[in-house]
Symmetry: C2
Subunit: 183 residues, 2 copies
């Protein structure tokens, strides 16, 4: 099994795909790991749900889709309800406390953080929310280093967005700092 | 076999991933088809090569990676050299005539068009080159309709880019108009 199997989910417009591409590129282009990133668009996508999978490994990856994530991110209640049943027992479930109210028991470590509120407070609106979520993921999992992501942010985005993107990444890193690492 | 198995390749910065996401979203969100889009980042990605796969089908898709594309797009010589050997016999090979000089024989229908020159002439620089390539693909394959892509362009991009994106799409549609359709 690959060490990091992310299932990232939310609604269209939350930047889930962009987050996934950044994570996969940071791992592969900056840290020499192997990464696969995919989106499957089925009937649920037409309801506004977005799902993107990222696998990061030190060895070749044969099947690009995540069947049992060990790290699940959900940014809407719909996404949480849909994908929580897939999580690996003992996995990590990251959600936004203001956007998601997880119900039911699940054999996973739940981490709820106010990422959406943090970017709203910092920027006055929901700017770079996905980058803040990515910062949390980096801090919790150590899957890739923050510097690798900063290089991709610089490479992929217009210079006008660099300051906000880096600030959002820092917000995420800071929010997650008190949480014990996974795994 | 799925009817449309696109392998889209070029170098980082040419917008190959964005093109792939637009194509998959237009098919799934606007036209009710099933689509899968994936990126694999191996050692070659660190050399600057980009590859993105899109499968569009009317039925469920079980393996998200394209093993034998029936439609190959290459926007650099490196990408053409690397991926042409994978093309399905009789498939469609689309390349930019100014960026790629295909050598060797290949059992595929070669279509070389001046997409890069067209956007440079229209915009003064290489704006929305990937959208122009997408316009060509739509005209050649009929995989999705132009209106489906226009809706995704409107939904995914800042209003400031709408006019240029739609103009680039039209450029691609016009460039491909004289070419017979595939398949």
């Amino acid at each position: 099994m690959e060490k990091f199997r992310f299932l990232l989910s939310g609604s269209g417009g939350q930047g889930v795909i962009s987050l996934a591409v950044l994570l996969a590129e940071a791992a592969s282009l900056e840290e020499g790991l192997t990464a696969v990133q995919s989106q499957a668009y089925g009937p649920e996508a037409r309801g506004g749900a977005t799902r993107s999978d990222v696998i990061i490994s030190e060895t070749p990856i044969f099947f690009p889709k995540v069947r049992q994530p060990n790290i699940l991110v959900a940014l809407t209640n719909e996404a949480a309800g849909k994908y929580l049943p897939l999580i690996r027992p003992g996995g990590l479930f990251l959600y936004d406390v203001d956007l998601v109210q997880p119900d039911g028991r699940v054999d996973a470590r739940k981490v709820g953080l106010p990422m959406y509120a943090a970017v709203k407070e910092t920027f006055g609106r929901a700017v770079a929310f996905n980058i803040c979520v990515l910062g949390v993921l980096l801090a919790l999992t150590g899957a890739v280093g923050p510097d690798a992501v900063r290089k991709r942010l610089k490479s992929n985005f217009d210079p006008a967005h660099h300051a906000a993107n880096n600030r959002a990444l820092d917000l995420g890193l800071d929010l997650a700092a008190p949480c014990p690492p996974y795994p």
